[in-house]
Amino acid sequence: MSEAVKPQRLALMHLFWWFMFAQGGVIAALLIPVHVLVQGILGPLGIVPVVDRHYDTWVSVLGNPLVKLYLLVLIAFPFFHFAHRLRYLLVDFGVPAAKSVPAQVVFYGGAVVVTLVTVYILLTTVPI
């Protein structure tokens, strides 16, 4: 009886972490391959000129606030996706402790730490 009259609570935290998981997955899927291809392979091999191959061009791009915002989204969001996937990969590999609250704090907290470090680096490197 008492359960029936209990007001339904929105699982806001659930909503938040699933949103971050999904967005991180989309951003990683759409944006990471081209960055790895151009900055990790074509640039170092000298096939195409790339913006981070020269100090002047890299700094002038990094000084742009829109670029900073883009890099924050590109780097921070996927880590919330990665945290979830790696935590459950551990569960699948027979580590039930990965389901525990401390493990959640470590994995999702890690994603938060990466976000904060990214914000700090973007704000202090070539400040706007």
Binding site: A28, P33, V36, G40, G43, D56, F93
Partner: protein, 142 residues
């Protein structure tokens, strides 16, 4: 077990049930192609995370000043990127294909076919890649 102990067990309150938890063998994911591909898909997170951390280092290094800045060019770095690219493409392929299963909506009262949704995801991927590649290469010229 002695008969005495058995009698005791039947008269007293039942002991806590023993747990026979089933444990997966450690190599379960190598036994079946689908399990293996699932594991690879979940594992893609690790190389992608490492590469993004590298990008963070590359950004930080711009603060070192012009004299000390030198871009990464070693063979090891290129090999690392090639490996990461393979995982990145697999993540993109699996994640964008998933949209056809998850997304359901109607246009003019007709359900949009899953193939069309997947196609739109891959089109978005292509468009984003072209734009990002253009910016990365175009702004390399002052």
């Amino acid at each position: 077990m002695t008969t005495e102990a058995t009698a005791e067990a039947t008269t007293e309150a039942p002991a806590a049930p023993r747990e026979y938890s089933w444990r997966m063998p450690a190599n379960w994911w190598t036994r079946n192609r689908h399990y293996f591909l699932y594991t690879v898909r979940e594992f893609t997170a690790l190389p992608l995370a490492l590469w993004l951390l590298w990008l963070l280092v590359e950004i930080r290094r711009a603060g070192d000043g012009p004299a000390r800045y030198a871009p990464h060019s070693s063979t090891a770095f290129v090999v690392f990127s090639v490996v990461v690219l393979a995982f990145a493409l697999y993540h993109s392929y699996t994640f964008l294909t998933l949209a056809g299963t998850i997304l359901h909506f109607k246009v003019l009262d007709r359900p949009v076919p899953a193939r069309l949704i997947v196609l739109s995801q891959f089109a978005a991927w292509a468009a984003a890649s072209v734009v990002v590649a253009f910016v990365l290469i175009w702004f390399a010229h002052e």
